[in-house]
Amino acid sequence: MRIIDVLRIAVGNLMRNKLRTFLTVSGVVVGISTIVFLVTLGFGLQNLVIRKTTNLEALKVITLNSKNKEESKNLNSTLVQKLQDIPNVDVVTPSYYFSASIDGYEGLAPAIYAIESGHFEVYDLKTKNGKQFTNETAKEIIVNKKLVDDLKEDQNQIIGKSFKFKITGISQDDSTKTMDVELKVVDVLNDESPGKIGYSPFKVFADTNSNYYNIKVKVKNQELLPEVKKIIESMGFSTSVIKNQLGAINLAFAIINGLLGAFGMVALFVAAIGIFNTMTISLLERTHEIGIMKAIGGRDKDCSRIFTAEAATIGLMGGAFGMTCGWGIGRLLEVIINFLASKAGPADQVPGHLFYTPPIFTIGVVVFAFLVSTFAGIWPARRASKLNPLEALRYE
C-alpha cells in the first residue's frame, strides 16, 4: 500500500471519530505546551540573568593576572606590546593597584586602581553621569558609592571636591615609599561593591616604579576569545575570563531547564497513555475491518501502518498545536508581566523577554511529540498486524 493511501485511511479514521481524536490530540497539546512553556521560560530566565549580570563587552575581555611577585615582573610594557600583536586583539590595557590613605580621614584605606582613560568598558565600569577622566594625566578620581559613604559625603555633592591621598606600594623595591597626590572627584560609580574603591588615570602613576596589577586584553569578538586566551596561556601567563561565571550560570539553568522539562514530560507521558488507549480501543472496534482487509489482500504491514500513521498523525497535530499554545501562553504572560512592571516601577526594572524559544527547540519538540506518539502506537499497530483474519471475520 502506498504511504499516501495509508495516510488517507488513517486521516479518514481520525476524522470519523472527531471527538475522540480531539480529546487525544488535546492530551498531547497539554503535554507539549507544558514542556514548551516551562522550558522556554527556563531559557528566557537564563538569558535575562546573563543580560542583567554581565555586559556583553565584558565577555570579550581576558585578564592576565600575576600569581606572585616573580610573575608580576613579567607584566610590563613589553608584554603589552607583544599582546597587541596577537591577531584579533582589539585593546590591551594595563592597570596599577595601590592602597591609599586620605588626609583627614583616619583609618580609611581605599583601594586605588590606575587605569587607562577610554577603556572603562573593559573594566565594566559605569559612572552615574557618564563622565570619564578629562585626560590621560588629569589628577582626577572616580569613586564608588561605598567610598562616598565612608567619606561622609553625598553622591551629588562630592563631585568636584578634591581629597589629599597618600598612595603606598608604589615601588617594587621599597615598600615604604609613598606618593602624595591631590585628586579631584569627577564622578561616582554605579556599583554595589562593598569595598572602598577609587579609579584614577594610569599616567598619573607613570613615574612610579611599580609592577602592573594586571593586563586586560579585549578581543574583537566573543567567539575569538578562546583562541586568543590559548595563545596567551601558551606564553606562560595565567588568565581569567568572565565566561567562567557564565558557564556556572549556564550549568545552573541547564539543570533548571532539565527539571522543568521533566515536569512537562510527565504531562506528555500521560498524553502518550491517552494515545495508547485510543489506539487500543480503535483496534478493538476495527478487528472486523482488519480481518476483511487481510482477507482481500492487505498485508500485515499495511494494517499496522494504518495504526502507526494514526498515532503519528495525532502526535504531529498535538506537537504543532502544543508548540503554538505553549509559545502563545508564554508570550501573553510576558506582555502582561512587562506591562505590570512598567506601571509599578522604573524602566530598568522591566524584565523584557521572559521566554526564549530557540528554533531548534521548536522543531525538536514537534519531532519529539511525533516520536512519542508513534511509539505509543507501536503496540496496537503490532496487534493489528498479528490479528488472525479468520478470528476477526468471525466477529460479526
Partner: protein
C-alpha cells in the same frame, strides 16, 4: 483433461483443538479444480466447507497435506506472499458481505487495488467499471449500511473482481438474501463464470443452485464423499427466469476497463474485453495488477 488444475489439493486435513477436544474439520481431502470450472461444495452445516475455502485462500495453514494453486504450494509462501495470493489470485465473497463500513462503495471496491499500490485515479476508474457491471453505478458514494443486503453483496462481488483474480470463492453468498436478491447474485456469479471463464467456487445450502455447477463436491464430516459432474450446467437465462434485472443482460458483464489495450487479441472476439480478466488463459500475468505488483515488491525489498 490434459490441462493442469488451477487448484490441486492433496490429502488435506485440518484439526482444531477446542480445549482438550480435537475437532477434525477436514480429513484427507484430495481434489483438483480446473480453470473455468463452476464448482459447488454442498453439505450440511459443520462439514468443513468454509474451512476448506479459507485454506484455499491461504487464511489458515493445513494440519497435513498440501494446497497447490497453479502448481505453487501455499505452504511455501510467507505472509506477504499469501497476502499477494489473496489479492491477485483469489476473490472472496462472504455470506456476511464483509464490506468495510467506514468506507463508501467505491472505496470498498477499490481497496484491494490500493493494497496493490495502484494509483487512486486508476483504482476509481476500474471500480466504476465494475460498479456498472453489477448494476450499482448510482450508489457509488453510498455507505454500505445504506444499501440492501443484495446490493451489498453485489458490491462485494465487484470488490472480489477488482484485481482480476483467477478464482472466485463465494461462501454462501446468498445466505442472507431474499430470493430476488439471491437470484441477482447468482446470475452475476454464473455469468461471471460463463462469460469471462473465471473459476468460481460456490458454497451453498440451496440445492437449486446445483444445476449451475460443472461439478458438485458433496461433503460430509470433513470429507468429500461424492463428486458429481454435470455435463449440462445451465445458465440463468436458459432457466427461463424473468430477466428483469439490469444485471441479467449478459452483455452487461463485459468489463470495459483501461487494461483492454494491454491485452493481446483473442480469437473469441465477443469476449475480448472481458478476456482481459483471465490471465490464466493466455498465461499473461503482466496485467495492470501484475505490473504494479512487481513495483510493490521492489519497494518491499528495500524496506
Amino acid at each position: 483433461m490434459a490441462k493442469a488444475p488451477v487448484i490441486k489439493i492433496n490429502n488435506l486435513s485440518k484439526k482444531f483443538m477446542l480445549g482438550d477436544v480435537e475437532v477434525q474439520a477436514l480429513q484427507s481431502v484430495s481434489l483438483e479444480i480446473y480453470s473455468g470450472e463452476f464448482i459447488v461444495f454442498f453439505g450440511v452445516s459443520g462439514c468443513g466447507k468454509s474451512t476448506l475455502m479459507s485454506m484455499i485462500a491461504g487464511l489458515q495453514p493445513p494440519s497435513t497435506g498440501s494446497i497447490l494453486i497453479r502448481g505453487e504450494d501455499l505452504a511455501k509462501l510467507n505472509s506477504n506472499e499469501l497476502a499477494q495470493h489473496r489479492r491477485t489470485k483469489i476473490g472472496m465473497v462472504f455470506q456476511a458481505f464483509n464490506l468495510i463500513q467506514t468506507m463508501n462503495v467505491i472505496e470498498n471496491i477499490s481497496l484491494p487495488l490500493a493494497f496493490a499500490r495502484i494509483s487512486k485515479g486508476r483504482r476509481i476508474k476500474r471500480a466504476e467499471n465494475l460498479l456498472e457491471v453489477v448494476g450499482m453505478s448510482k450508489y457509488k458514494n453510498r455507505a454500505p449500511n445504506q444499501l440492501s443486503g443484495g446490493q451489498q453483496q453485489r458490491i462485494a462481488i465487484a470488490r472480489s473482481l477488482v484485481a482480476n483474480p483467477w478464482i472466485i470463492l463465494a461462501d454462501e453468498p446468498t445466505g442472507n438474501l431474499d430470493s430476488k436478491s439471491a437470484d441477482d447474485v447468482m446470475r452475476l456469479l454464473v455469468s461471471l463464470n460463463r462469460k469471462s471463464k473465471r473459476t468460481v467456487i460456490l458454497i451453498t445450502h440451496n440445492p437449486d443452485y446445483l444445476q449451475f455447477a460443472d461439478r458438485v463436491f458433496y461433503m460430509q464430516d470433513g470429507k468429500v464423499i461424492k463428486v458429481e459432474a454435470n455435463a449440462h450446467a445451465v445458465t440463468f437465462n436458459e432457466k427461463g427466469k424473468s430477466a428483469t434485472s439490469s444485471a441479467s443482460k449478459e452483455d452487461d458483464f463485459v468489463i470495459d476497463d483501461d487494461t483492454k489495450d494491454e491485452v493481446p487479441d483473442k480469437p473469441n472476439t465477443e469476449e475480448t474485453k472481458a478476456a482481459s480478466d483471465i490471465p490464466e488463459e493466455n498465461g499473461n500475468t503482466e496485467n495492470t495488477t501484475g505490473e504494479s505488483e512487481n513495483k510493490e515488491e521492489e519497494v518491499e525489498a528495500k524496506n
